[in-house]
Symmetry: C2
Subunit: 459 residues, 2 copies
């Protein structure tokens, strides 16, 4: 047992001796001082480092106090959950399912093989089973698929005192009671927060203190937009309604945080020309990694042939003046880097809803001016460098300098416009990131460079 940033945790080196010496009481009391999330992390490590067998793992799990164990289970990786479920007795399994919130149960089920799923559903009580099936029917990435059905609602016409009675009897099993909902024939008509209930007179009718102007999302809304709405309005939970305005679930802030982080990871992947992975880095197999990276690599490699054609066309020019070839990587690199700066900022700006399609010309004008400044500075620095240090001659220095101004302007315009164009035609703007932009710019920048060289140097 040791302390990590104010939190008591055990690591593998501390668990193993206690386990080998069968000091189960000490083990149990140590687990009791740990946060369930840290217990879950320890289990992952035990499996990853192959420190214990599957049979030992279930023994350790049984040492933990029942309620803590069930809570730790909700934080575990699907692979650890699967290992444990395979060793669980039916009774243990149904105890754990009872402890899970419905949305956590659904998350888990979505990761399990079919035989495990049917065992889980068999051991769930009928109400839980029908709730799970209900959520499972919503499309992937929809609000319905991430919501929980465990919220508290009051029927119109109840008094505050009656509502508190209801919270006392059903609240303990709900994911949050801090915002409760008021319904009229299942239709959502209001939301009330617990603080207002505490400070109101017990005889007041609930609808009289409820806020009727509520932000809701539809079951079929994209989960990313749900997370954004929750974050925009600083909400603790957001009610999910069906097409008849009936409340069917809520999405809570912790799930919204997970969605935001997932979407960011997906954007990072796409922007590096990797098809988004379903699993984390280590859990994805080598074959899967290769498969998610190959299509883009192939496409980009074949696109680069175009640049080769441009070079072949100007073959005679650079045979006369071989020094021109030595500057090619620098010109292409500067174009790619300038372009990816712009495309990344625009992609991110659109992802956080700062930049919209209607800002097209505003962005264009801004990037053009930034490009002028950047291009001028780079051209001067580089022109002087090759004139003085590489003694390339005035005309060659001029050619390279002018090319740089040109490619930076071109790059910033292409880099900022393509992501917006992608959005316009309903593609994900994130694909217009560095790899794509620099492949396109390689050809354009070489064309510009060779054209200028032909004109200025008459090669």
């Amino acid at each position: 047992m040791h302390n990590e940033g104010g939190v008591s945790v055990m690591n593998i080196e501390e668990v193993m001796p206690l386990l080998q010496e069968k000091k189960l009481a000490a083990l149990r009391s140590n687990f009791e001082q740990m946060h369930p999330a840290d217990i879950a992390a320890l289990f992952s490590e035990l499996i990853e480092q192959r420190a214990v067998s599957d049979t030992s793992l279930i023994l350790i799990y049984r040492v933990i106090a029942k309620e803590t164990a069930a809570e730790a289970f909700t934080y575990m990786d699907p692979s650890v959950q699967e290992t444990l479920i395979n060793s669980f007795s039916d009774r243990e399994l149904s105890e754990v399912i009872d402890e899970l919130y419905i949305d956590d149960a659904v998350d888990m089920i979505e990761e399990m093989p079919a035989n495990v799923v049917s065992r889980i559903l068999k051991n769930a009580d009928s109400e839980t089973r029908s709730q799970i099936n209900n959520i499972l029917k919503y499309p992937e990435d929809s609000a319905g698929s991430i919501m929980t059905t465990e919220f508290v609602y009051f029927r119109k016409g109840k008094t505050i005192a009656e509502c508190f009675e209801r919270i006392r009897s059903v609240g303990i099993m709900k994911e949050t009671i801090y915002t409760c909902y008021v319904t009229d024939q299942r239709k959502l008509i209001g939301a009330v927060n617990l603080l207002e209930m505490i400070t109101a007179e017990p005889a007041t009718l609930i609808e009289d203190i409820a806020e009727s102007n509520i932000i809701t999302v539809n079951t079929l809304d994209d989960k990313e937009s749900v997370a954004k709405t929750l974050s925009k309005y600083d909400l603790h939970a957001i009610p999910v309604v069906d097409n008849e305005e009936r409340i069917v679930g809520i999405v809570t802030f912790d799930d919204a945080i997970d969605v935001i982080e997932e979407e960011n990871t997906e954007d990072f992947s796409k922007m590096a020309a990797v098809a988004p992975l379903d699993e984390s880095y280590f859990k994805t197999t080598v074959w899967h990694h290769a498969r998610s990276r190959l299509p883009w690599l192939l496409f980009l490699m074949l696109s680069a042939t175009l640049t080769g054609f441009v070079i072949s066309r100007y073959e005679t020019a650079f045979e006369k003046l071989a020094i021109l070839i030595a500057f090619m990587p620098m010109i292409m690199g500067t174009a790619g880097n300038s372009g990816s700066q712009s495309s990344t900022l625009i992609i991110r700006g659109m992802a956080v809803d700062e930049i919209h399609l209607r800002d097209f010309f505003k962005v264009l004008w801004k990037e053009f001016r930034v490009a002028l400044i950047c291009g001028a500075v780079l051209a001067v620095v580089n022109g002087l460098r090759i004139y003085y240090f590489e003694q390339a001659g005035l005309l060659v220095s001029l050619t390279v300098g002018l090319s740089i101004v040109g490619v930076v302007i071109l790059a910033k315009i292409v880099g900022s416009m393509l992501p917006m164009f992608a959005k316009k035609v309903h593609l994900d703007p994130a694909i217009m990131a560095t790899p794509m932009i620099s492949t396109i710019l390689d050809t354009c920048s070489l064309l510009l460079y060779f054209t200028l060289a032909t004109a200025i140097l008459h090669v």
Copy 2:
């Protein structure tokens, strides 16, 4: 007034006629149906599009019901807030400050020029002023700087009934009451959630139902790690303690979401070789944009000279076989793209705490195998393409094919190792992203390509 995704909003086109025809009652009732966050967005738009003068802006603000107006104020951009403050009477200013949560007030103050700050502090009551000053003393990016001091705590020895009395009298002004804290001589000894209080006997002592094993952060902890801790343990709020374990504030989930999004934006910027911006895209001036992009562009441009040297050294080789030059962009591009795939996945994996330094060899081994598969497929496809379609001859096709396998392996190893190396020497891994990686790989991949060409083709 119209409906956007279930929420009632007004846009500029709807506000202006009401304003011009002085239909203030209609305006007021429309505002009353809008969420404060949407009112704030409308104000930003009014200013951005220069639809109204500053004097008209304050007139519109005064039309809104007082409490709604103050709440909308907390959602506004600093520049809108500044415009309004400059038009506020002292009384209006102090009313708004009274409505702000302390952490929102501090956020606002940090963005204001000195004269506005002193006017704000002058018009705050003395308790608010001292709380603001208290938070302002914490270093930027620390837990202390983003916490709020508005939380509810109970002294040890109080009964639940007494605690509810306290919530009723002070709770309404606090940012959250859903988790309250128990102190003993200001030291934090427990946390209790409201649901447990509601379901407990009124005569119970608060410390008897409080959880004593609490996750806390220190005032000086980095705000990013605070947000991660909150998300890891699914907490609604996390208490911030000083070095004597006394609770001085809390950080709530909505601030954590903002921190996560800010850090992600920073990572995106860094990975595109842009120095992170303090402001959003549009609020950053052209000069600032240029200044944040130039240093990296300059550095990368000058580094690309190295690639030029490599080319110069092999000048004689490609003069004999000009077709070799045409494949240069494709080889360099494939290297850059393969490398940035790996570096991005590793950078992201480290950012979300999945990949640690101790995983160095695990990553190396995984990337090596992925590279073998990717490299082989790309080499075969490309070798066949140039053999059959460009009729480049067997030896040239072989050279290009072998080079591709080589550069993909090199790229994936360099791309995955450099971010980990950066972390090891306490640099931000995000700088080892595409621009840096591809600049480094340009040189290495050309060296490999020319070496192979020399060996196989005897040029």
